[in-house]
């Protein structure tokens, strides 16, 4: 009983918080501020973070523990991603407290949906049973489908939400078919039992097909090319704080699932899946960066850049089994810091109605909003991979890991892509600091000072970006210890009789 509770505590706290916020929402009179609900959600997430810390101490003493008949497992790996997701959620909540002031009357649902989404993402990272992974994936996906279309009045919002929903469900079907074929090849859906089953399977063709389907399904979720077509449209139409969340947290969770599945369930098919992952990585880096070069819309450009980042992370998978996990964990953490930060700044610069969209709107922004522009500059430099930022060490570890494993060509393609990426990040950065030719038409947007909550959120992301670049050791140490442990399947999963 007690270990069951330990494995589920953070998710439990977040679910209860979400339910409380959801129930309290209609009790607040229409037109009143929904900010208190936002604070409740932040408080709940902080409590969940304390619970995750408790899990960390528990695993330090007892090692990895399983609960609920071997469906959930708390180990250093799940704790790392739990912390990452909790941090992203807290920062996003802080950054969007003021976002919904005035224009919508049901902002409470927004806070509740973020809590539910975080529950799903956390479940994904700690489950070692594909049924649980699927349920976590769906909890997080369904919440983000709604969040993407939260600005109902905007014409682009429902379009963005619809595209995300259709392609997300399409991907889920592939993922499920992959699980079904895994079950067919091994007779189980538990990752440890699948590993045993794959090793002795009579149906290798079915096992390879299962692997390919799972990789396709998760490839959609992390927006790796050629499964990236939804990303630019969805990110352009969704509210900026939501983009910050959904470009980092669900992707981190999906990368964690991919790590656990490929490394624990299918290490014997390494040669097969590494080829597939390499193709995805190269395509994502090239199509992402080349696509971003052509964009004038800033959110769309950052969407393509996030596709490229997914490609860099996939490069690390080739380094299996030595340094891959640490490199993936570190890169997702630094990517989360700089991307959430960038979208927080965009939230503050453009507001609910997105007064600034294209590069032209951003021209001369530094004259009007110097602090925010400087922060955006920092996040862009980090995305390029300039030394003393988190992005630099992220790329450094990923590419060295690939080289150490003998994938020099892959690392060179990655480095060349980082060079191409400089161009469009620097173009935006230069636009920020260029005096506009004509006075911008968006003069009407008042340059209001930002509230303490947003100040804290921005400071947190900026400090995280710099800390990861200057003192990466602490996080790197955590990342190196985060190994997805493959425990033997629980007693109830007996070896099935041969058909």
């Amino acid at each position: 009983m007690s270990t069951n509770l330990v494995t589920l505590l953070p998710e439990l706290v977040l679910t209860i918080t979400g339910v409380i916020v959801m129930l309290a929402e209609p009790l607040i009179a229409p037109g009143r501020s929904r900010k208190p609900l936002g604070w409740v959600a932040i408080f709940g997430t902080l409590v969940a973070a304390i619970m995750i810390n408790g899990q960390r101490q528990f695993t330090n003493i007892h090692g990895a523990v399983q609960g609920f008949y071997g469906t959930l497992q708390v180990d250093t790996f799940s704790v790392f991603f739990h912390f990452l997701i909790a941090a992203i959620v807290i920062v996003t909540l802080l950054g969007s407290l003021d976002y919904f002031e005035g224009p919508t009357t049901h902002a409470g649902e927004y806070f509740a949906l973020i809590c539910f989404g975080a529950t799903g993402m956390m479940l994904m990272t700690s489950s070692v049973e594909l049924l649980m992974v699927f349920i976590g994936l769906e909890i997080s996906s369904i919440s983000t489908y709604i969040l993407a279309g939260f600005r109902k009045g905007q014409a682009t919002a429902s379009e963005s939400s619809l595209k995300y929903f259709l392609l997300g469900s399409f991907a889920t079907a592939f993922f499920l078919y992959g699980i079904a074929l895994c079950f067919g090849a091994t007779g189980s859906t538990s990752i440890a039992a699948i590993a045993q089953g794959f090793a002795t399977t009579q149906m290798p063709l079915m096992a390879w097909l299962a692997l390919a389907m799972v990789i396709i399904g998760l490839g959609f979720k992390v927006s790796a090319a050629p499964f990236h077509v939804w990303t630019p449209d969805v990110y352009q139409g969704a509210p900026a704080p939501v983009v910050g969340l959904m470009s980092t947290a669900p992707k981190a969770a999906a990368f964690a699932v991919l790590l656990r599945f490929l490394f624990n369930a299918a290490p014997m098919f390494r040669d097969h899946w590494i080829t597939l992952i390499q193709i995805l990585a190269v395509l994502s880096m090239c199509l992402g960066n080349l696509g971003a070069l052509r964009q004038r819309d800033v959110k769309r450009m950052l969407a393509y850049s996030s596709i490229a980042h997914a490609g860099y992370i996939l490069v690390a998978y080739a380094a299996f089994p030595q340094e891959a996990v640490a490199a993936v964990c570190f890169y997702t953490a630094s990517y989360a810091a700089m991307n959430v930060g960038a979208f927080l700044v965009i939230t503050q610069l453009t507001g609910f109605n997105e007064s600034a969209r294209t590069l032209d709107d951003y021209t001369g922004m530094a004259l009007r909003r110097p602090v925010l522009s400087a922060l955006l500059g920092l996040f862009l430099l980090s995305q390029i991979g300039i030394p003393f930022t988190g992005g630099f060490f992220g790329k450094f570890y990923v590419f060295t890991a690939a080289i150490h494993s003998g994938y020099t060509t892959l690392a060179i393609i990655g480095l060349a892509n980082s060079g191409i990426a400089c161009f469009y990040y620097l173009r935006l950065l230069a636009a920020l600091y260029t005096r506009p030719v004509t006075e911008p038409p968006t003069e009407a947007a008042p340059a209001q000072a930002f509230s303490p909550a947003i100040g804290v959120a921005l400071a947190a992301t900026a400090i995280a970006t710099l800390m990861l670049g200057i003192f990466p050791n602490q996080v790197l140490h955590l990342a190196q210890r985060a190994t997805p442990i493959n425990m033997p399947p629980a007693a109830m999963v007996s070896v099935p009789p041969a058909p």
Binding site: L131, I146, G149, K152, A155, G184, D233, R300
Partner: protein, 100 residues
Amino acid sequence: MVPIAAYLILAAILFCIGIAAFLIKRNVISIFMSIELMLNAVNLTFVAFAHMWHQVSGQIFVFFVMVVAAAEAAVGLAIIIALFRSRQTLNVDQVNLMKN
């Protein structure tokens, strides 16, 4: 007695029809139905394998897929209604405000 392989081939065909319909159909509701078809193909696969391995866990999985598909349908139809309200169309070719 129908062999297991027949069920698996039927499921694979249904899944492929679902993919084809998803790519070809232009009406949002039809696209949504093709996703449901793909999910049901998966369910059929699970049930066939559950019978093959004599494991009930495959059948339990099907229940979860059904529940999640219902939740997804609720959200999906709500999104489609929101789209129809703002655009008065269900044709995906006309839902393209964001192409450059």
